[in-house]
Symmetry: C2
Subunit: 394 residues, 2 copies
């Protein structure tokens, strides 16, 4: 069976704010092959990712993503890896290509899982799926008290792990950051996992990051995430050498397997966080999970959007029992909540990857129709892309 | 003075082939501030880079590039670095952003140089510009004889260095590659620099690459370029440990300073090749040049397009006398040749960076008008971009 069509659906909230909240828009991807279909989701900047699918060819290794996907054979999981290699080669000089392909690749797994009646994690070789400890992901409050209240409400809702991040953390005084961290710990209680996300705020300034280590240790933080630009390996490794019980975490922006494994090999991260919606999909994320597991590095998903993205991001490490922590978007936008009918439910503070064909969730296109955008891209009057969704067919 | 407008001009040859010839299309950028203007060029996939400029905001750190540029102050070189930091922060999750910003940043330097009456290399702190030894960059011929003839004609034209690459190199037998390399050396003569570009063909297979080392050494190759995926540092370092007199080269795809310096620190490249049209412009390329120079690693430009791109790519190392080799696009497309009025001429096999305000070349918009494309991008009927060029104004 060949890939008959790839359709994109760009949706956003009526108002998109400056908050670091990635659930405010989405680019959903529907792939059809014969009578089967599958769905995936691309992380960030829908219009740019659509453009990378339809852009005219610049030269032999700067081809649009579409040209490596439409019409290709899709009979087995090997075909997904084969198509991924085509994209990597043919779109070598097209920087956005991995983000575009991520949603497509996820949809290919979903489609194949549905066709074969298996959850994706089983197609990846897993025998059973193990429960994860989801952490509630939230932004720091404007005040320490707001942070305390928000973390406490997550703890009250059954979360044993909470991540706080962004806001003004790292930009003001060391004392103000210490107050925020203490408040988060107080809200969480003494037992829970406290995770902290610095959002690259110190660029590559190890001294600035190290000033926060005492407060991070005092608050019993499990990790400090993205202290620096993701490719500043030396800064990461220097901080990791001084951070004691606090592990360094990172990887969400990785757009290739090597970009993630280099964080393990050269940046000394103790937690590698992978977004299947960016790295090129589920296959590359699984390669990173296996690499991490072999080196006793914890694999963690990065997910700040929908339940569809959450289910996709759990597949690579669903069958790894020792990799327990997972990110769980606690307060996604109304749009993100409406994307799927079912959802992954918390049971006793744990989350079990779904045991259902594909990703195990159905996309509710009618529910999100009010949020969909008409996109038109044309060159010299010739439409490359037009309408609420794009029927890329070959 | 503020940045009043940023306009893009997308042009391509009437027919764009599958050859690895990056001069088949272009995305030119014109920036205006007060009565001054400057020009730059983005490498690869014009439509995608335009989309990254105008795309709606996804969230606080996934903003369109336009929002960090339009209306910003531009009084000194520090403003260029400040704007670059804004783009890096505000477009953190927008993968294509560095490619889009590269052309803008180059135009900012050109504009500032024209305003101040100085060549860009002097604004970068250089006292004088030193001549470079340009290498003629070409693809392997379909046969060894074709390669010999093509290299010989470059040598006859005065080139003392030639780079051959792509074609079927690395994909067929080791003997066939050896024949090609011997032919290239024969065409060049015994004295010239012979450079070889593998175009990532061995992915991360060190053994496959190492099989070609004897022939590379026999042909006296100065470097083997991009043997692997650019982030496969370990593979690079392993090959570098075995490659004797043949240095490993790479870096053209670097889209941040760290991505380039990591190649020096972890991949053991002996030559770091930077495309100012991809890495984020001239400022980041200068940072890499300084980093390389301090470590006795040769900085080399990557340029396969126009003379405008060539002039931009020479600025970061124009004032470094010991960094001699530079890439020179030997047979750019008709379009690429028409972009500028003047050009950098070879004198006794050497190329001297221009000593004229800005980049020292004027863009001939009328000459390339037949190649320009009308681009339209609209969302829900609202045009984000329309016309032969885009007047992004604030």
């Amino acid at each position: 069976m060949n890939i008959d069509s790839v359709d994109f659906f760009y949706a956003s909230m009526p108002s998109v704010t400056y908050d670091a909240d990635g659930s405010q828009d989405t680019l959903l991807v529907r792939v059809r092959s014969g009578s089967d279909e599958g769905w995936g989701e691309c992380e960030a900047s829908p219009l740019t990712s659509i453009a990378a699918f339809v852009t005219p060819r610049s030269h032999g290794v700067c081809q649009p993503v579409a040209d490596s996907v439409l019409g290709e054979r899709l009979d087995s999981v090997d075909d997904i890896a084969r198509i991924a290699a085509l994209v990597r080669r043919n779109s070598m000089d097209l920087l956005q290509a991995p983000h575009t392909f991520s949603g497509i690749e996820i949809a290919l797994w979903d489609l194949l899982g549905r066709r074969l009646g298996e959850p994706v994690w089983r197609l990846l070789g897993g025998r059973r799926a193990y429960p994860k400890v989801p952490y509630a992901s939230m932004l720091f409050g404007a005040t320490a008290q707001q942070t305390l209240d928000a973390v406490k409400s997550a703890a009250d809702a059954g979360f044993r792990a909470v991540k706080v991040g962004w806001g003004t953390f790292g930009q003001g005084s060391v004392d103000a950051d210490a107050d925020q961290l203490a408040a988060a710990r107080e809200g969480l209680g003494s037992d829970g996992f406290l995770l902290v996300d610095a959002g690259q705020i110190w660029v590559d300034d190890v001294a600035a990051a190290a000033q926060r280590l005492p407060a991070l240790e005092a608050a019993g933080a499990t990790w400090i995430e993205e202290p620096f630009l993701p490719l500043a390996y030396r800064a990461h490794a220097e901080l990791a050498g001084r951070s004691g019980t606090v592990g360094v975490a990172g990887g969400e922006g990785a757009h290739s397997v090597h970009m993630a494994t280099n964080l393990i090999d050269y940046a000394d991260v103790r937690f590698v966080q992978i977004d299947t919606g960016r790295i090129g999909g589920i296959g590359p994320a699984k390669a990173v999970a296996d690499y991490a597991a072999a080196r006793d590095i914890a694999f963690v998903n990065h997910t700040f959007t929908s339940q569809l993205a959450l289910s996709a991001s759990l597949q690579p490490f669903a069958a790894l029992p020792d990799h327990r922590i997972c990110e769980f978007p606690l307060t996604p936008s109304e749009l993100a909540r409406k994307i799927t009918a079912g959802r992954l439910e918390l049971v006793d503070g744990e989350l079990l990857p779904l045991d259902a064909p594909g990703l195990g969730l159905d996309v509710e296109l009618e529910a999100i129709r009010p949020y969909l955008h008409d996109v038109e891209i044309s060159i010299d009057g010739h439409a490359l892309y037009a309408g609420e969704h794009f029927g890329g067919t070959r």
